[in-house]
Every structure is written in C-alpha cells, then in structure tokens.
Symmetry: C2
Subunit: 101 residues, 2 copies
C-alpha cells in the first residue's frame, strides 16, 4: 500500500480552512483515480505546547503503479490546485509505503 501523507500546520483561520477542506477539497480528493481510502485526523494540542501540526490526511493507493497513475491524473491536478487555493504554505507531503506489522 502506498500512502500520500499530508501534514498541515495550523491555519490562520481554522473555520475558513475547515469549510474549504470539507466542502471542496475532500470531494475532489475522493475523485482521484485509484484512491482506496482517505483518512483524516485532527492533531490534539499538547498540555504545554501548541501542536506542531493541525491535521494529518492519508490517501491510500494499492501500489506504486496506481499511485503514479493517480499523481498524473487531471483529477489530482484539480485537487492539488484546490488545496493550494486555501492551504499553500500550510501543507507538506510525504509518500510512504505501509509495512506489515
């Protein structure tokens, strides 16, 4: 399983971020071909320190080939452009391979 992990820093306006994320981005991300699942987690603030990240999202794909196909798709370009319209500078991406535990 190949994962596209998106780590988001704290947005200046969380309510605006949430609105854009759920009302536009999630719908577009789900249309990317080969997406098996989209998992979203909210990072909880620590007791003493502000959270380094605000949110993590994981898009999962069956294998490297389907991931490559997905990344080249027009649906991915559209989802990426949408994300940059409200989360540019807030998001970092990591690609990962899930291992059996």
């Amino acid at each position: 399983m190949i994962q596209l992990i998106a780590l988001f820093q704290q947005p200046a306006d969380p309510a605006e971020f949430e609105k854009s994320y759920w009302e536009t981005h999630v719908l577009l991300a789900k249309k990317i071909p080969g997406v098996i699942s989209l998992e979203v987690s909210k990072i909880l603030p620590g007791r003493d320190t502000p959270a380094k990240y605000y949110q993590m999202a994981i898009l999962s794909f069956a294998d490297k080939d389907s991931f490559k196909t997905a990344m080249k798709s027009p649906e991915n370009a559209e989802a990426g452009a949408n994300l940059m319209s409200f989360a540019a500078g807030l998001v970092e991406f990591h690609t990962a391979e899930k291992v059996a535990v």
Copy 2:
C-alpha cells in the same frame, strides 16, 4: 478513535534501528493495554530531496479514556523506555483524533 502518531527522523544506522524496532519495540508496543492497531509506514525519499522523516507509526485506541489508561500503564512505560534506548532524539509524538470522512 485516538491515535498516537510517532514520526521518526532518519537514524544514523538504519539496520540497527530496524533490528531494535522490530525485535524489541514492536513487541512491547503491542502489549500496551487498549491498543487496537499498530500501523507502520516507511517514508519514501523524494526525487530531489532527502525525506524529512524516515518512518511513521500510528498506535490506535478506542477513545480518550482508553488512551489515558494506556499512557499511564507500566507496559507503556516499558515500551517508552525501550524506544528511548535506540531512538532518543529521532522521534516526535503527536496525539490525534480520527474524524469521519
């Protein structure tokens, strides 16, 4: 679902890290009470840049109460001490709440 997310930076000796992680730490982490799943992903290096992280691990718990109980358990103390014996300075933890997508 409450998640304990561990992000690991690149170890100096990956083979040594892998040996300690899989032969000692995973066994101890699985014994922490209330652990529903342990998911491990290897971060893939980017085309042009070294990966910011080496590995991500997610321990999942049913809810905040079972997470709190787990964190106070002797099994968690043992797993944590073990982790610090080979990954001190390499690992950062984030607590997160998974949201429905």
